[in-house]
Symmetry: D2
Subunit: 488 residues, 4 copies
């Protein structure tokens, strides 16, 4: 079933508990900090349900229609289709929604492509976890749900042994009780991006756990409105600009990050996917295509943002009359090269696809992680480059676009701020957008997001290290040494 | 005379016209967007007038006491004293006030150290411009004024010939009428940092003018409240945080940038320093120590910020429990090296001082411009490095510090967010400061400021090019070639 | 026909004139500076003619067998095949032969895929230039020739108008006479990489010419042994190491760069492809797939070298006992990411292929130029990184491997230089290879080669600028501005 | 006593054992690999002994004259004098002799400024080590000796515990026997730069030792010709160019690096400075001004090279006709800024000098280590930048300058290779120098040297970390937090 935007909005009006500082929000669809973004997600659901988008955005199975990001791919064509769907969503949001509904859904679809992995650990309490995964995969796609995840321990609490040595309970979420009906959770998880707007949140562990962290090793799905769950949102960035024109992106696309605090949250067994198995709780992302599929979405999402950035750079150079300066042109050429490099790596992921014994396929894992690394290494620098192209532009413009509403000011503004090629209003709008994307607090949250959404750089490089064909590469050296050891 | 903060505040309550978008502000000392910063400037005046700071902050001449940044230096000791005064001001504001009162005052003091330069152009209307400069130097220091300047044409309007070719008036400020009493100005200048809080603004031209730009080539001083002058402020950044604790820097130190729009502004001749002389209007900064003296202040100011940044990096590393990680320690060592490098370049400016025929001295020009270049090349990267050290820290904290006011939330917050070494409240305060300095809109305005306050990189490098001893350096090559041309 | 190595060697023993300083070389197959490399090219011909390599290295047309790099591709499969052939050749030479026989041959094949371009200029002397191109394409592939090119003016001579203004003849190669039998050439072209070992050299112009450079605008093919042609070779780098073990790469793979000096060289019309047409002489590379096909070979060639570099980095880290250090592991992960990024861009070129109206295809042009830019931006840094991994390793080893020949020294060497994991001899061989690839003069010639083989960075970025979809990218900005201009 | 060059050469003709591969060299003053450099050192001694250089190069004490680098500084003037002497030596060798005679002499002078440090460990065998240090300091300066040092373990042998765990003797130099007459040494030390040309080598430990490395913890001085000492030289780089004109630097300034192998080397107690004290063996460099004084020499030496590099960049830009291109001019300005930055840091070291309780002074330690870090971070990039300015220049020139000796070739060369501004011969000489400094094997040995001469980057950053005023810097953060915690 493909939900409409209206259906989506209704379902998240579920009495969830969200905190902005000490303020308690109960309806995120109407609160000024969240209403615009909620509206955007709803529009995305409408777009997806639109019959005109049928082929691009959904697939059919067993006579039913599902969002395309729930498709388990079996061919290059399937992969290309999935990418096109990610791209449509990313383009819709200009790459600014990191955890758009297709992200965690792709991860979960990947998990469900090798459900037997979930039974590879010690069976707990006679649960058939693989079956839970398959059931929930089917349920999520059938109900067309928006999933978020919270799979990191809080930053200060990553050395459980230290806490133990001082006889203190670490704040990390854990199972504190369990019985035949299910488990009870207490503690905190970070950093549930998008959870404020999602239907459910997946609790889990993307970082390796110590063998002693048995009770932390729980993976499960919670409806956001579950009693005992509170989302502590970070500062909303949708309110910094005075109007949509002054913050065309931040006012509409702040997906919000939250800490998930659980106090005596009861979870039935059917919603539990990993239990009492520290190794498995992390391994599910690696032994299934879960990680590769969700991060391919991240690649495509970043690509959309990169295209916007490159287009913006060109517009700014023109607006500043700098487009013909050789150094500026070289910068634009370099930015265009980066966009093409990224596009090439994404297309290469299809060409170099990998096949599973089950008949499923996924995109080339090495190229995918290389693209993650490329984004990590280059995003901040690209933004800095474009900020440099801006010159002092953003600061010579009025505080906000309300000047346009005052005829006398508007007249002065037009006569002093316009250039030969561009009206003052056009410049204002362009630079407000540029600043929103590159200089606002929203921009800087994105800067941090791009630095850390897969993990810090050493984690990203470790993924690249893990999958490299070292024997083959080192063999090249051995071959030369062997050849040269012979007499000349 | 050394003014008190109270006297300072009274004088700027002069009915000046400041626009925030379409809102007209008349009293900047009480408007919420500006009041805090005005209070900070006032506190700086009080500090300077404090007898305990007498030696560090002022000097005596002719029985009168003046702010030290008006001192015309004649020895290394004078230079060291001037630097110490800049440092006291910079430390007071953590290096966040780029155009603190000692900046333009230093520039004007430098201009007045070689007043004959002002008579080197064609004399206009029998004015003795050198005398105007000396008179105003004496007046500025006697009245202990806070000066700003606006010495750039608006960004879009830098090709006057293009405007002419289309028969359009460029928006740049120019003399539109003149008579025996003085000149009349119309047009716009950017980017008068601090002008909202200053007593007077110097109008001038730091970029070379075309020979045809005779009427733009005016340098003069205007009280901010002069009829016909309007300051169009950029977006105030002091209001983004909910409280001082949530934005400990932005709420207090937003110096504000403004466009200066002049409509039929009358300026008496005594306030005019350059007139009808495109070459001279720019050359005054180079042929006098004006540019070197104001930018030495910029060096010292940047140094204060750099020290705060390095200290913050260390605090963040500790708060995140990362202080002992070798890679983090190496980063901190590298940051410490950068701070020491900068400090060394500033001390070297004293050791390598340059003497003028008049008996005056100024700091070493090459080392000063090298320090400008160093800041330009490294500031954004340093900030990025520290943002990377922050990890997702800023986003796992509550939206604002109001959570501390709600006892129940404060309790939960303390129990989940505290670490073994640090209370949750301490972490909150530290990361709010870090984000304010590195991630807020205020932070990004500083990013742009550090990129452009002396001009874009090619301008900064041109200063470095201009003063390099090319003959000596190329001679090294010639010497080796000559030696090697002989038979071995 | 597929030549054997022996046939190749015989044909280049044609009395060609090659200068090493003042020394005149006539047989490059036996001169110590060139013999090893000649042997390597011959081995490459043998490998290509080996029936076991038939499918990978050649194709059939009209009952005849040709080297695969002469194949005009019509499908993705053809492109994949061409890439595999390039890769076999690149692997054979570890990516160290920039202008291996498949490079210029690919360029010429590309030219011949759109021969009508050659007739688009003014017809000269009733010549059917498109026919010349097709004829020579057929001849080159039939005789299985090794082509080089010399398509740049000498460095000092790029402003012909300056020469003219001083009434001096610029040294650039030009047509100085012409009659019914053909043209006569005088002057110099750079930088004919590989020409010492090639059968023929293509003379041409890859940089735009001024409209006045009519006589420079000649494109033609010359057998290297043509009377009047002299190759002035740069310093041979094959002789720096005392033995193959001391320079396993430089002793074998120095392809040599040469200036081509022509003195009264006569060229029959059938060998002329462009004549008296400054615009066309450059445009042939852009309007045909010539440039894209030759530079795809460059991509594949660079990839081979990159793989060797990454493998070497890992071997060095192990040899130095640094493989388990987190920072080193992160570096290796980063290098692996770069290799995967490059591989992805190459595979992406197939996935994103472009079709010509003629039914031919070529690889995606934007991804190809992006890969060129990536290599240009990263090669020097990668090498620097690996040199850093080497530590002082290269200098603690003996001057050369002759120590192994002296039993007493060999014993001491083994006992002091071996480590727990590696014999002294193994370390010696590994570091000699590393230094040869990264620290020798041969290494630094490669550093320059990778910087300039397509042109300096601004040229490379210009190619990337030219083909970017600016309208689409800028349209993204326009879309957001349009949406935000509406009331919130 | 100030030695003449002749005296210097005679003394190093002492029968020392030097190996080049399997070749045994006994007289380094005549062997072609070393003779030129020996001649250069001799010329440096002559320059130093020249009465005209008396004030700059030497000082008087107790009626005797000593090389200035043995001066124990007591004032800023002394520091400035020492710097001037270092600069004279560095200029003489263009900064290419890293361990010129003033380097280790400065280190030893620093050690002798706090000799009591040597008695702070456990006294061994009733030796008064402080007295040994003072005696040898006096002897070294009296005999005007050239000292080298070898203070690193061999690269593969840095984990002694690993060797022990496998019951193998690590190859590191250690005391293997001791009696009343002295100690006996066996084993290897790296990397004795300059030792081939020095009088004596200091054996020691600049890296921390493990507490168990008692026998490795020996610091002593050995005449190079001591029986049992063999220097295993790395590949000589003085022979790669065909003539001095083809390698104007490498032929003359290859200081050579060597491994020092000791087999049953007997050292009398008077030559031993540290014995059986792992902690002290390393600490002497830190607790005395030894490290700061030797590395200030390194700063000055690097500065000389930097000036040559910047001068060369300008000459190359002019030769290539690129001097007026804006991007090139910006690069030159940037290079000039880097040179001024470095000069400023050196002058700042005087201004910020530090005083010892003994009345001695030394340069500012933090600025000195910051300058080391700056060189480390920037040297490779500067060279890369200049190589980029070179374009393909180096490869379009003939193999060597012998072409000038053949009149016919010289004529052709002049007519084709000259530009409007420069004769072909001048270009040849300039580019041969440029390549020698930036592209030759000699250049790349320098690249490695600048990366590692104080240690790898993490060591350099650790020095910078150690001396940073963390309390003061962190206090800045604390101050802001404290101020902001109060109500707004």
């Amino acid at each position: 079933m493909l939900r409409t935007g209206k259906e989506y909005l209704e379902r998240i009006r579920d009495g969830r508990r969200v905190l902005i500082g000490r303020e308690r929000v109960t309806d995120v669809t109407t609160h000024p900090a969240f209403a615009n973004a909620a509206r955007m997600y709803a529009a995305m659901y409408d777009m997806k349900a639109d019959p005109a988008q049928r082929e691009r955005m959904s697939f059919e199975e067993g006579g039913e229609r599902f969002s395309l990001y729930f498709l388990m791919p079996k061919s290059r064509e399937d992969l290309v289709r999935r990418t096109a769907c990610h791209r449509a969503i990313a383009d819709f949001s200009h790459g600014l929604l990191g955890r758009s509904p297709d992200h965690v859904a792709s991860s979960f679809t990947g998990l469900a492509m090798k459900p037997e992995v979930f039974d590879s650990g010690g069976a707990s309490r006679n649960q058939k976890f693989s079956q839970h995964v398959v059931n929930f995969y089917k349920r999520f796609r059938r109900e067309d749900l928006f999933l978020a995840y919270a799979i990191l321990p809080p930053q200060g609490a990553r050395s459980p042994e230290l806490y133990e040595s001082r006889d203190r309970q670490p704040p990390t979420l854990r199972v504190t009780k369990e019985d035949d009906s299910g488990v009870t959770l207490n503690g905190m998880k970070m950093l549930a991006t998008g959870a404020v707007f999602a239907d459910e949140v997946i609790i889990g562990n993307i970082l390796p756990l110590a063998p002693s962290q048995v009770k932390e090793s729980v993976t499960c799905a919670l409806p956001i409105g579950t009693p005992g769950v509170t989302l502590w949102a970070r500062k909303p960035l949708s309110l910094s600009a005075k109007s949509r024109a002054d913050g065309p992106l931040s006012t509409m696309f702040d997906e919000t990050d939250s800490m998930v605090v659980c106090e005596d949250v009861k979870v039935p067994w059917e919603r539990v996917f990993v239990h009492d198995d520290p190794e498995l709780s992390r391994a599910i992302y690696i032994r299934t295509p879960g990680h590769v599929m969700s991060n391919h979405q991240s690649n495509v999402r970043f690509w959309a943002k990169l295209r916007l950035l490159v287009g913006l750079a060109s517009k700014i150079a023109k607006s500043n009359g700098a487009h013909a300066i050789p150094a500026v042109r070289e910068t634009l050429g370099r930015l265009a090269a980066m966009e093409a490099c990224y596009a090439g790596m994404i297309e290469g992921q299809h060409q170099g696809l990998e096949r599973l014994p089950t008949g499923h396929v996924h995109v080339n894992r090495r190229y995918m992680y290389a693209a993650v690394n490329y984004a990590l290494e280059n995003h901040a620098g690209i933004c800095d480059l474009i900020r440099t192209l801006m010159g002092g532009g953003a600061f010579q413009l009025p505080a906000d676009s309300s000047v346009l509403e005052d005829p006398e000011l508007a007249r002065i503004f037009e006569s002093y701020w316009s250039t030969l090629e561009q009206s003052a209003e056009e410049r204002l709008r362009l630079f407000k957008l540029a600043w929103d994307l590159l200089g606002s607090e929203f921009a800087m949250r994105h800067d941090q997001y791009e630095k850390f959404y897969v993990g810090p750089s050493f984690v990203v490089r470790n993924y690249n290290f893990m999958y490299a064909p070292w024997d083959e590469l080192e063999g090249l050296v051995d071959g030369i040494v062997a050849a040269s050891a012979q007499p000349k």
